[in-house]
């Protein structure tokens, strides 16, 4: 077995420096690497390019890095819940690239799988396709999109073992598995880190080969953005 365990979030993020490109898992605040984001705030690294589906909210998730002016460029599909983000974007302080959600997922998966690029119909005829190669297949138009390139992928899983194998829970899975192995170094923080051999190999979502460092996370807040319930009938 090849051990991937590191003992602290500091160790897990060692080597992250100003100007790097980071992939960060999560959808809204669901399944975000809370410990790593807190550590990035503490480190104070700046001029980051962050690739993540959303940009957090004003006081949580990637919103914390935005507030601290640590992000130079944000690549996301939807940023509707963050006033500070919208302010920085409209004022031009923050560089923003908005891309279709499925394209973002596939750009990560392509990097993970070793594909340099792929054709997708998403965005054809829109400003997303401007400057990109367009090709027709069987009468339908497609846009050439490239695999992401990143220094670190930072993901959050439910359970993981010391070999770096990961299991996700519910819709907290989202982009996390797609980002594993899509950067030079993949860091996974997990709610429960167990010895190798404790997880059923049949149930592993991401094999440890895609993960370089795994760390036991702590104090998960798991904030709910839109708590919605139905009345007891």
């Amino acid at each position: 077995m090849i051990t991937k365990t590191v003992n602290s979030i500091e160790e897990a993020l060692a080597g992250i420096s100003d100007g790097m490109t980071l992939l960060l898992g999560g959808f809204g605040l669901c399944g975000i690497p809370e410990n790593a984001i807190a550590e990035l705030v503490r480190l104070g690294v700046k001029d980051l390019t962050c690739i993540s589906n959303n940009a957090g909210v004003d006081d949580f998730g990637l919103g914390l890095l935005l507030k601290n002016r640590q992000i130079k460029k944000m690549v996301a599909s939807y940023v509707g819940e963050n006033d500070e983000f919208e302010r920085q974007m409209l004022s031009g302080e923050l560089e923003v690239e908005l891309i279709p959600q499925g394209t973002l997922a596939e750009r990560c998966r392509a990097a993970q799988a070793g594909f340099p690029a792929f054709f997708t119909p998403a965005g054809f005829g829109t400003e997303v396709a401007e400057g990109k190669e367009i090709r027709e297949f069987d009468g339908k138009m497609y846009v050439l999109e490239k695999a992401v390139k990143a220094d670190f992928a930072i993901v959050k899983a439910w359970k993981g073992d010391t070999a770096g194998n990961l299991i996700f829970k519910g819709t907290a899975r989202n982009f996390n598995p797609n980002m594993c192995g899509a950067a030079q170094i993949t860091v996974a923080e997990v709610e429960e880190l167990v010895p190798a051999g404790s997880l059923d190999p049949n149930q592993i979502h991401i094999p440890g080969i895609f993960v370089q460092r795994i760390v036991q996370g702590k104090d998960y807040e798991k904030r709910i953005e839109q708590r919605t319930t139905r009345p007891q009938s």
């Binding site: 959808f27 809204g28 605040l29 669901c30 399944g31 589906n53 996301a76 599909s77 939807y78 940023v79 509707g80 819940e81 919208e86 974007m89 409209l90 923003v96 908005l98 279709p100 959600q101 499925g102 394209t103 973002l104 997922a105 596939e106 990560c108 998966r109 997708t120 119909p121 998403a122 965005g123 054809f124 005829g125 829109t126 400003e127 997303v128 439910w158 996700f168 829970k169 519910g170 819709t171 907290a172 899975r173 989202n174 982009f175 996390n176 598995p177 797609n178 979502h205 798991k222 904030r223 709910i224 953005e225 839109q226 708590r227 919605t228 319930t229 139905r230 007891q232």
Partner: protein, 216 residues
Amino acid sequence: MLDKFGIARRIAKEVKNGYYVNLGIGIPTLVANFVRTDIEVEFQSENGILGMGPFPFEGQEDADVINAGKQTITALPGASYFDSATSFSMIRGQHVDLTILGAMEVSEQGDIANWKIPGLMVKGMGGAMDLVASADNIIVAMMHTNKDGQSKLLKRCTLPLTGVACVKKIVTNLAVMEITNKGFRLLERAPGVSVEEIKAATEGNLVVNGPIPEMS
């Protein structure tokens, strides 16, 4: 004239037995409440669940189980969770039968704009561009006019596009229409709404063939 619940109720009639359905944020989310209970339908949410159920009872919310609108939800028997790339394989691969989403503008060619107002509002397209580029069956749920009373059914969209020539059907507070090569073909009127009122609220070409029934 319909309210948002009326629009959702009318669209629910388009949901057929055996359909996998993706519902957008806003009025489309309400459609789930009105789908017949004697048919088998599964709702997909692009953040990674198929077989989405109703909102949880208070005290049973799970932060790890949400829909694309970031609302807490539940999973029904037979549900599955998956990653984002798999989710969009379902969408791009045309395994989802019906997509229902909101819009700021729709053109008579079936173009749709719903993600950006330059200089004013930038929320992003989320999964909408993937959905409209791939789905065969797209229904738009929206109000016929904006807050200022201007038509949202146009000859050409003025806002940045989400997709081109993709919308099949539109259900508004005033009417049900389908996109044809001659423009918006009027299929049904909302209760108490005249063809003239619909025409006046539609900037794009409205095709009216024969008497138009009131929706039941």
